[in-house]
Symmetry: C2
Subunit: 168 residues, 2 copies
């Protein structure tokens, strides 16, 4: 396999995986492109490589900055902005986990708490099943939340070391 072909396949695969997980395909692709690029790239270069419009490139780059996955760079004597991706997979994983927790898990935890307060007759199967299921999901969600918390604070080696211990 050639490098050029491999690059394309990587960008495609990353884009597909992203879209299956609710992440805009273009965002995943730009991220993939920057991940495998040794140097920071301009909007122009990104537009060209991925065949996307200026508007799309600009907005998606801003989103990626918002996710904490890439950063702007400036080169001395140039007005153009360059974009560079953090290549540390542990940082990437943590950053994604952090953002999705904030954007998606936290709001759900809030709703779960709120609806857990529902009052009713424990003899009513409708009520009993509701509170049991919601309570169980709440517990699971809180476990996930705690685990993410640990992961966000952890050093990579420590975290994976702990995971490996699970396999004995």
């Amino acid at each position: 396999m050639e490098l050029t072909e491999a690059k394309q396949k990587f960008i495609e695969a990353w884009g597909k995986l992203g879209s299956e997980w609710g992440i805009n395909r273009t965002m995943a692709q730009i991220h993939a492109l920057l991940l495998i690029s040794p140097d920071a790239l301009t909007t122009e270069e990104i537009m060209e490589t991925l065949s996307i419009s200026r508007g799309n490139a600009n907005m998606t780059l801003r989103d990626l900055i918002g996710w904490g996955l890439i950063e702007k760079q400036h080169k001395a004597g140039e007005r153009k902005e360059y974009f560079y991706a953090d290549k540390d997979t542990w940082n990437i994983a943590r950053q994604v986990a952090k953002e999705r927790r904030k954007r998606e898990l936290d709001p759900v935890l809030k709703v779960l708490d709120e609806i857990s307060k529902v009052e009713g007759d424990p003899k009513d199967p409708e009520f009993a099943t509701f509170t049991k299921s919601v309570g169980d999901i709440n517990k699971l969600a809180r476990n996930v939340d705690k685990t993410l918390d640990t992961m966000l604070k952890a050093e990579e080696s420590w975290f994976w070391g702990s995971i490996f211990k699970m396999f004995k």
Copy 2:
């Protein structure tokens, strides 16, 4: 808060969370409805409660069965099919993890392996960055894969017990 209102909020929240994670909103909503329902429900009842069409209900119910999250039930002397959701959150989490691994992680691992075979000049920064990034992602993906494997085989108590040990 009333039970009826709480139910609605739960179904809504579950649907929203699902759609943010690449799961069809209707699928998440039907699942939510069945999760909080003490009895198995008919297609008719589901259509009515969620205001969706017969076609949508039927196809989504089949999908949910495909995901291993619900099952058909038959009542003696009746021709109608009833649908019932497994209420064990640990089973649900495992089932979802299992299916997404099969559908999404496995194909990506395959691509990563394939493109890892790319050959080139280690002095070329393009080549070096590509192989480094892809290699790192490969490692992370394999760690996730192993962890899922352990999770799928594990008893709930054992799994969360191990996670808790991480907090010391």
